[in-house]
């Protein structure tokens, strides 16, 4: 993962559930959680190194609680990821969101490996 960037970018996100528009500030690449402040719908978004939105999708839950803002999701210590979940995490790092993404994140969270920045 890269160093914190001094750049920041305003991004418009249209909720996949209620279509309301939110503007969030992005300054890091990687996986982020976003909860729509209007309807509470959780989403995941993947930010590329140029701070572009690579993927944005609604999910049934995210490992973050705070609406209005986005929270970056990272793994505390990648060396501790079990072999069963390593391919999944490698895919995420390459910018690919697999179909059952939420299950992979839930497994990592249940193992105490996920860290939510800004919570």
């Amino acid at each position: 993962m890269s160093q914190p960037s001094l750049r920041a970018k305003q991004v418009k996100l249209n909720c996949k559930q209620c279509s309301e528009e939110s503007i969030v500030a992005i300054n890091r690449e990687g996986l982020h959680a976003f909860i729509c402040p209007y309807c509470g719908q959780p989403h995941l978004l993947l930010i590329d190194p140029n701070l572009g939105v690579r993927d944005f999708r609604q999910v049934s839950s995210v490992p973050a609680r705070r609406p209005f803002d986005i929270a970056r999701i990272r793994v505390k210590d990648e060396s501790l990821i079990p072999v069963t979940l390593k391919p999944f995490w490698e895919m995420l790092k390459r910018g690919i969101l697999p179909p059952n993404l939420e299950d992979g994140l839930a497994a990592l969270q249940a193992l105490g490996l996920l860290e939510i920045e800004g919570e």
Binding site: S79, L80, V83, T84, L85, F88, N100, D103, G104, A106
Partner: protein, 299 residues
Amino acid sequence: MWKRAREVDSYVTWRLYTTLKETGLLQKLQEKPWWEFADRDLARWVCDILVEKGYARRSGDVISVSSAPERPQITTMDAADLAPVVDRVMTLLPRALETGEKPNLFEEKAYYSKVAGSLVYKAIIEAAIEEMGLSRLSSEAVVADVFSRIGTSVMTLLEMTPARVIAVEPQPENIEVIKRTVRLSGQENRVSFVQASPEEMVLPEKVDVVFMANVIHWIMNPRLALVRARENLKEKGSVRIIQQVYEGTGLTVPFIHYFFGAVRPPPTKEELIRLIRDVNLKVERQLGSFGIVALRATL
């Protein structure tokens, strides 16, 4: 697989030695017999590692240290990943030896996940599935994976065999991890769950294979677990056991387990076979080297 296991083995030995040396325990082990330590099992185990790896000689019930291991080269990812876990374990060793307080890092979930989800462990299971010919099972076959932990064995069985799998695991948090991991792989229709300890398991159906990977030294009553395995077998079914035993890498790698909830050192090969025969199971085929035994037992 052997290269990784050997590197972990050397790292545990070196770390153990340096920890004992730095805390003055190396001296104590040379003065006081192992059975005078508060945790006797652990003290004996420590002595056995130093003796078996060639850094000490036994003289009666004490040891006499002859040389110091060199810091091992780590070249494999898995050994590199496990090193911090070994370091963590060794911080608890002096207290455990001297007070007899049984350490349990199980609550440190992230470390536990590495122990139960290491590449070394997966490689051992893969080799055993291969050697035991389990990939030739039919898609109708049912395998009960006993004491699944976080699902390394379940996922490996799903990858390498066409069988259905019943995961037997006592901890609900672990079951949640396995469920999610199975769903991530899209194979939820091949797996069902029984939340029970190996000693208490009652399966919803009789199975073709009861698969027990490194269960014996983790549970209070291994004999009872084998009785349950037997009860849940189809007439032509078999129990397949992969077990680290008290020799070679089986001395050092399971040393880590002791700090994560394993209740004792692994059995010797002879103890394991006696245990199986004691519940009227026939040992039909056994393979193994370097501290790991894979065997098949039938009714």
